[in-house]
Amino acid sequence: MNVVRSQREMRVLASPLSVPFGIRISAPHQAPGLAWQLALGLVLLVICASPAWGQTCSQPRNAAFYNGYTLRKIQLKHPLSFIFLVRHRLEKLKRSLPIAENRPFSSTAYDAAFKVVDDALRADDSFGDHLSPAKVVVVTSSIENCQELEGSPKTVDVVYRIFSTDPIPAVRALPEKRQNSVDEPATTAAEDSTKPLYKLRPALGYEDARRLFGGVNLLLHIPGQIFREAHFSGTASPTSRRIDFQLDGSKTPNRRLAEQVEYHLSYSYARDPVSDLSLRKGALQGRFTAVSKSRETSSSRIVLRYGASVEAGNQQANLIAATPPPGTITNSPYGAIRAYAGVTRTTRYSEAAISYGLQVGGQGLGDLSFSKHVGDAVYSRRFPAGTHSPWDIETRLSVGAIRGTRGILVSDRFFGGNSVSSFIPADAWYIPAGPIVRSIPANRLSAGNFGGRSYYSSNFTIGKIVVFRPLVPDEIENADGFGSGINAAENTAERFFADDYLSATQAFKDFAVKHSRNLKGDLDGVQSTLKAIRAAGGITPPLDKNLRDAESLARRIQNIIRHASVPDENGETTPQGLVTLLNPTTSLLLKRGTPPGLFAVFDTLQPLLSPDANSQLMAARASINQHLTELRAALDAIKTGPAGQEAATRAHRDMIRPREIIDSLRHEVNSYSFSVVGIFDVGRVWLDPFGTRYAIGGGGRFSLLNVNFTAGYAVNPHPQKALGQGRGALVFSMTYTNLFR
């Protein structure tokens, strides 16, 4: 939870746009606060666009050829390097390398530098390591832009290209957490690691209704078991005041219907202009929201959310001339009890969410006189799959109604426009509490000045990416070994999981125990024979050497058998170890060549031993061979049987999502993109004498990773100037794209 988000949940007015020292934008269903990152990204992209040096290297794989050249430039190219935290780490890493710019190039130091880079990236788990069942890191090092011509300074560049499957939280968090990452993607990633004690941030922005406003946001991490964070935000303008204070806490019951529970205690005050009125509302609120464990299928995940809140305070409206509708209370105490629930289903290319909220409210918690119902359904989809320039659509249907004939507070009536407050104040979960029509400034769709008692709105947005830069550039994607390395890692992980699942079955454990017992008996016999040979004396140096080899191999084989069947101090066994005894290339029993396996040592020992000793070893060998044959047959049976098939199926299922993530990162995610966008809205408030309202418009959308910044204009075909409606309204929004399930 953060301050920006809670600020958004106040009655939001037209097209607010706010960032520290910049412009702030907010819209009906999106969060503000990212423009500085966008600006930073743009600046970096421009920097990155500087012309390449453009020289080719005659011996790109012969680093020693360039010894003595001047190292002109060292580059570490990481897809997420436009994020401050990543860039900062890369710069720090660059400074630690044994090679340096403007110094003579040394192939020895260049080789050492690669190890430094690889070690650092492999160990860097700051971006969600604990969430990953499998992680892939690919690092390449190359010599580029060589200036080899005589008569000019001989220079060379060193370029490291890095790919890691650890994305920032924004691209794979749970839906209810994504918004936080959308708010502040770079800082969210950083704070996951650093957790500062406090964060103070100025806010400055402009809205049509609020005019220019400024203020401050403060976050404090507080000690204690109940609440962990405190948020304060305050902003003011000539027409408005907003103050929020909130304490946040959370628990993780880890139950099916309540994997995580968040609870909050807050106070908020707002004075906002609404049409010709100025509404004031101050309230103390207690609220909780719970999230179920996600239900996973091979293609989707479903999360249930629900919560409730209790709120009490005061609300006031300054009546200038108009008379409020019958039963409408403009100045009174305020009380409300809310309950809400929703389901979100995400697939790789779509997201659907349905939410419902019920409120009973009135002039205090002891005088609840009306009920309010809101419903919201959102569906978004990208198509076609597997492209960096897809189309995308988002549709939203919102409805609401107030039931009751007396004591309906004006602040609870429905006001609409291009920015609408949330039914759940100060929460990331957004259920619009009014109709969204983007051609009408916020709160100007109001059935007169006092809001409506029911509404509906439907919104349709379509976009198409027309300019983009892939997150993983072609130069990395097509680098020798890159694609195959990813493929290898995915295959490895799937096989690891399958083997692990199989070895954890009782059938496999029984198999391991049985065959370990057989082989252990054989090896015990071999070790006894070797001991007897030594005890018999007459050990020549060649015999001693071969006996030591045999003793060592027998001991190592016994270790494998022991680990396969006897639990260690953690209760773990390694039954798969028995499989290694069957491998003719590496088996400590069967291996030929150097160093040899036990049977090959038997062959060497044969001329050095007595017939009796030889006979015993040959008998042991025959028994071992027999048991290996049985082991092979049993292993094949178990692998091709139900247990093996189930393990393979389960492993394949486990890897579907990691494969999707990696595939999306490589073939769909853009570091930035620009889209054209079209919008169409229809909505109505009752009793509005002007009927159904429309918005038709378009604009452009700039996206940074999965965070979208849209600006456009929506035309209002039938403006009502008396209600402050013009020919249309600017449309600003910040959204996220669901890149992964």
Partner: protein
């Protein structure tokens, strides 16, 4: 601004890195064992050479931090270079996985005196050699 790209680079644009390191880290489904395996290919004017890094981390309880059991780096025999290349191309197969686990156990045995460092080096080097001929090459 860099020119947006819409199609894969042509083969002539393919980079020829001197070094490629592919690392895969896998946490076993019971969350108690983490294996990090890195294959590094280094090229010079003559040929390619391969090395592998193997790290095993374990923990008794999935809620506790991993403790490193062993981290080893060994050079791959020249004769095994095709298998190393096949592994980098297609991943570890089940036989190599089993051999990796044996290397992990041997690492623990070194600590208890039941195995030698030479045993461990041999078992680690065998991870690449253990590749099954029936696996993709």
């Amino acid at each position: 601004m860099p020119k947006p790209t819409t199609s894969p680079a042509k083969p002539k644009d393919q980079l020829k890195p001197t070094h490629i390191a592919v690392t895969f880290k896998i946490v076993t489904p019971d969350q108690r064992r983490k294996i990090i395996f890195t294959l590094v290919r280094s090229s010079d004017k003559h040929d390619d050479s391969w090395s592998i890094m193997f790290e095993l981390d374990e923990r008794a309880d999935a809620t506790k931090p991993f403790q490193m059991v062993i981290q080893l780096q060994v050079d791959v025999d020249h004769n095994d270079a095709p298998k190393a290349a096949a592994t980098a191309q297609n991943g570890l197969d089940s036989d190599q996985h089993a051999q990796a686990l044996v290397a992990g156990d041997t690492a623990k045995d070194v600590k208890t005196g039941d195995a030698t460092k030479d045993d461990l080096a041999q078992d680690t080097k065998a991870i690449v050699s253990a590749r099954n001929p029936a696996s993709p090459q």
